[in-house]
């Protein structure tokens, strides 16, 4: 597992070696701010909390996280460096974990840089900082889930555009599957247990639970399982067609 750290460091450094990192962070912060203060009506609500800020995170991630994840493997495949990486004494799982953790860490850096919002709300009022922390945790986990999905699709194709589109679509499904309109299409005919099961797959539901400030073990396990599942799929896809 020492190799996970080595791959992680190389990968994380490579984000900051190109303008990608800076462009991503600036866009992320601008959009997060705009959503919060403009669409979310942060001031007008007159409440000292960060709900308008966190409510938009799923939609922000929906487009920005696939932009990060699409290059993870597709780029290695395109440049041929995957052949180098996969013939070094590193297991596929170590490479998958190292790359995923680097991408996650990078997104967390972007997320952490939203701290002025937190300072603002503390300056203006007396928010529940525990709830805010919980929401940050939920947001981080959700970003991890999106990234794991994206990493898997990136491994499946050498074309970054295809990886991006597939990831957006699948992430969109995982987001929307919990809302009543979507569940309505199932509840007419499917047994309630199935409807519940489908509803329980929704990123939105689990994220909403956590961002209310209630850290339920089930929500944590859910995101851990999502990440684990997609990374396992990523490893299998890679072993299966790394040379294609």
């Amino acid at each position: 597992m020492r190799n996970v750290g080595i791959v992680f460091r190389r990968e994380l450094a490579s984000y900051f070696a190109t303008p990608v990192a800076y462009v991503f962070i600036v866009i992320f912060l601008l959009l997060a701010g705009w959503f919060t203060f403009y669409l979310g009506n942060f001031y007008g609500r007159g409440q000292a909390d960060l709900l308008p800020f966190f409510n938009f995170h799923p939609w922000l991630y929906l487009f920005l996280v696939p932009a990060i994840s699409m290059r993870l493997w597709a780029e290695e495949r395109k440049s041929g460096s995957i052949e180098l990486l996969m013939t070094l004494p590193v297991t596929t799982l170590e490479a998958v974990l190292g790359k995923f953790l680097a991408a996650w860490c990078f997104t967390l850096i972007a997320l952490a840089l939203t701290f002025p919002v937190w300072i603002t709300v503390n300056y203006l009022g007396d928010p529940d900082n525990g709830a805010i922390l919980a929401a940050y945790l939920g947001s981080a986990l959700m970003a991890g889930g999106f990234l794991a999905i994206g990493a898997c699709f990136s491994a499946a194709t050498r074309n970054q555009v295809i990886a991006f589109i597939l990831t957006v679509v699948v992430c969109f499904l995982f987001l929307l599957i919990g809302i009543p309109q979507v569940l309505g299409t199932f509840s007419g005919w499917a047994p309630q247990a199935l409807v519940d099961a489908i509803a329980s797959l929704s990123f939105l539901t689990h994220f909403a639970d956590i961002s209310k400030g209630v850290i339920d073990l089930r929500d944590l396990v859910f995101f851990a399982l999502v990440i684990g599942f997609w990374l396992a799929a990523n490893t299998i896809v890679l072993d299966w067609k790394k040379a294609d």
Partner: protein, 310 residues
């Protein structure tokens, strides 16, 4: 030791490698020859564990590449086709990364980094990003990466492609200097390279081994082997000279080159033609510009064996 046993790779309906078997021992430099698409690179990818064989096995230093990939990969230094790398990294950071993955201790790492940087003349470009380097430098960064951990087995897919003649010469000297105690497999389609560095050559065509011999023995298969080439100061005397040489009992036939300046006499059953031709030249007082014994032409053998243009 590399032991390749009935290695086969099938992509859909295409048989890329079709039952290839050979072993390579320490001290051998094996040249892998063949037309483009013959299966050279695919075989190398299977030895290094990047591609899984459809059937058959590859063992490196006793470790089966499919069953104990990490142990096998530790012992291999590999330069993939096209020398891919991480474009945004500098050679310094890239080699640091490789040293870390290879698990080199700090002192050993410094020593090896200094050695490969000096051997491949990477000093001037250490802090430029790899994507901005010339093809020659990129290739040398790839080579540096392959030899950094001083591996027992070196697999180099077209190591001198894109290098200028001086750089080619240096890389060949480097390969020769490492040859003594290592197993080296290089693929190339530059035939002079085989003569320059390889102690053994395998020619592969359509996924099968069609020849496995020393470069000298392969040359001996050429009809030019032991032939004699002659150039005269006065080309107009070449006509009578040709008739006289063709009449020699050791000569099977003669041939003029395209420019009509060089006459080649082919021996009968590998007989020595040179003494008879030089004696004839002295007796007839030809003004000889050039008279030499051909050792055989590898390119011709290569074309014969692999069936011409693919």
């Amino acid at each position: 030791m590399i032991e390749i046993n009935q290695l086969k790779k099938v992509y859909g309906s295409l048989v890329a490698v079709d039952g290839v078997s050979f072993t390579v021992s320490p001290g051998e430099v094996l040249g892998f020859l063949g037309p483009n698409g013959a299966g050279k690179s695919t075989t190398m990818k299977m030895i290094t564990g990047f591609v899984s064989p459809t059937s058959g096995s590859a063992r490196v230093c006793g470790f089966d590449v499919d069953e104990a990939p990490i142990e096998a990969k530790r012992r291999i230094g590999y330069l993939p086709e096209g020398a891919p790398g991480y474009g945004e990294m500098t050679p310094r950071r890239f080699l640091d990364f490789i040293a870390a993955v290879r698990g080199l201790e700090p002192a050993r790492k410094r020593e090896r980094l200094d050695a490969v940087i000096a051997e491949l003349h990477l000093g001037p470009v250490l802090d430029q990003s790899i994507e901005t380097l010339s093809k020659g430098f990129r290739r040398r960064v790839g080579l540096a990466q392959a030899i950094l951990h001083d591996p027992q087995v070196l697999i180099l897919d077209e190591p001198t492609d894109g290098l200028d003649p001086n750089q080619k010469h240096e890389v060949r000297a480097l390969i020769n200097s490492m040859a003594q105690d290592k197993i080296i497999v290089i693929s190339t389609h530059i035939l002079e390279e085989v003569e320059a560095v390889c102690s053994r050559a395998i020619i592969i065509a359509d996924g099968r081994i069609v020849a496995d011999d020393t470069p000298q023995a392969l040359e001996a298969r050429s009809r030019f082997h032991n032939a004699v080439s002659l150039r005269l100061a006065d080309p107009s005397r070449l006509g009578p000279a040709r008739a006289a040489i063709a009449a020699l009992p050791q000569v099977a036939g003669t041939e003029l080159d395209a420019a009509g300046e060089r006459l080649t006499a082919f021996p009968k059953d590998g007989a020595l033609v040179l003494p008879a031709v030089s004696e004839l030249a002295a007796r007839e007082r030809w003004e000889v510009l050039e008279l030499h014994l051909e050792s055989g032409r590898l390119d011709e053998v290569f074309r014969d064996i692999t069936g011409g243009i693919h």
